[in-house]
Symmetry: C2
Subunit: 237 residues, 2 copies
DNA sequence: TGACAATGACTGACCAGTCAGTCATAATTA
DNA sequence: TAATTATGACTGACTGGTCAGTCATTGTCA
């Protein structure tokens, strides 16, 4: 019987402006001028904006304290739009972590191995990449976020353990064994605890996240000292 | 009836919130069979129960997701009672961290230094204490909680930095310098980054908290390997 | 009995998730 | 090609539930 329309008559005429608001919503970060005439493109763009905004908000406030209204506002999108892309807040969070972690792992694990490099060089290169890409960027806060919310999101913790921790440690163990075989590393037991190799890098990430503003830490210099412990002090060049 | 009277504008303008921190001198060892006829004692007991319960809840759920109703229920107290002891949720959280951290620091920093101990022995002893007291107890989750909530509670992060981090690092630096002077430690630069010395211990704490159930880590064995890197591999006994 | 401690029902703000309605664009027809 | 219709992305007011904080009332000790 459509008396529903009568129920809310005021909203009918009002619209005109809000459509244009959509156009100015490209305020999200600094994307290059993108026409995006195609529907699917626009949708993908919006999805990207939501992910970007959600990442910022979750990092800044944590899962529970983050409001979807704020994410929507930051993404330049209505709240309902979020639900076109994600089932609910929780799965949005989990999916977010996944889509942020995977390319990070890919990038870090696909660094070209220099030809005649020593194991030390390889580890140092990796650590430099890691510190540059993670410790001094928003991605570092992402690691902190995982540490913070992990226990409440077993799916996230498991994913992180599987995709990042075991992979990273396996790779590092291989590198350590190579170093032992080549005679670069004396301490045989190190292969049992690859965690030791990366510990300072992780500490640096957490440090920057918590105390960075207050007391910055030269992560790379620290890591070099750490490498000196493992590979022996380097002849100065 | 007449709950409309709640609008009543004249209210008792009292409530200089009771900071009755003075009399807390009750032996808070055994909980269940305690008449505690004395009023101050009972109050202190309740306060303790609230702190205990709040700690559990905050660790399990984080700040934002923790409900005061749950804390009250767990502490066996009505919600209003919490507000007799704490101004609000936020200051409760901050005070909580403080009251939990201080005795921990005291205990760890007041370990009796064995007479003829080497620097390595001292560090190892400290690490064993730390791992035993922190990594494998609820206190480890406390560290994780600080990492998690620190950025949203600058007061907490600052406190932790001042009372724990700088203290710990200063002490560790002194120990390292002693080790260098005694010839136990070769790597002179280590004194610049005492963080390296404790990094594996912290990693162990975080590991247990996140992955412990899934993949336990022998933190003490790991730390020994780490010490071998710094002090040289030990002659086997 | 008076003073204070404790209670828990209540309030109001807040927020995740919904859905009726809108409209730009794509698809279809003439 | 232009006109017409169909689609579904998008919106934002709204709902129902939750929860921090309050305070009138009740209980308890000295």
């Amino acid at each position: 019987m459509t008396n529903v329309a009568a129920k809310n008559p005021r909203k009918i005429a009002v619209k005109a402006t809000s459509r244009r608001a959509g156009a100015k919503a490209s305020a999200r970060s600094n994307l290059p001028p993108k026409p995006a005439s195609n529907r699917a493109e626009r949708a993908a763009e919006r999805r990207g904006a939501i992910i970007e905004a959600a990442m910022d908000e979750f990092i800044a406030r944590g899962f529970a304290a983050t409001r979807l209204d704020d994410i929507a506002k930051r993404a330049g999108v209505a709240k309902g739009t979020i639900y076109l892309h994600f089932k609910d807040k929780e799965s949005m969070f989990e999916e977010l972590i996944r889509t942020a972690i995977v390319p990070l792992v890919v990038r870090l694990s696909s660094t070209p191995p220099p030809p005649g490099a020593s194991v030390r060089d390889m580890v140092e290169l990796f650590a430099q990449n890691f510190i540059k890409e993670v410790a001094s960027t928003r991605r570092g806060d992402l690691v902190r976020l995982i540490v913070a919310e992990g226990p409440r999101f077993p799916a996230v913790a498991d994913f992180y353990y599987r995709e990042v921790v075991t992979r990273g440690l396996t790779g590092m163990r291989a590198l350590i064994e190579l170093g032992i075989n080549r005679g670069e590393i004396k301490q045989k037991n190190l292969a049992q605890f690859p965690q030791i190799m990366v510990a300072p890098a992780l500490i640096a990430v957490i440090w920057q996240s918590l105390f960075g503003r207050h007391a910055p830490l030269d992560a790379i210099a620290m890591f070099r000292v750490h490498l000196d412990l493992i590979f022996g002090e380097r002849r100065m060049a």
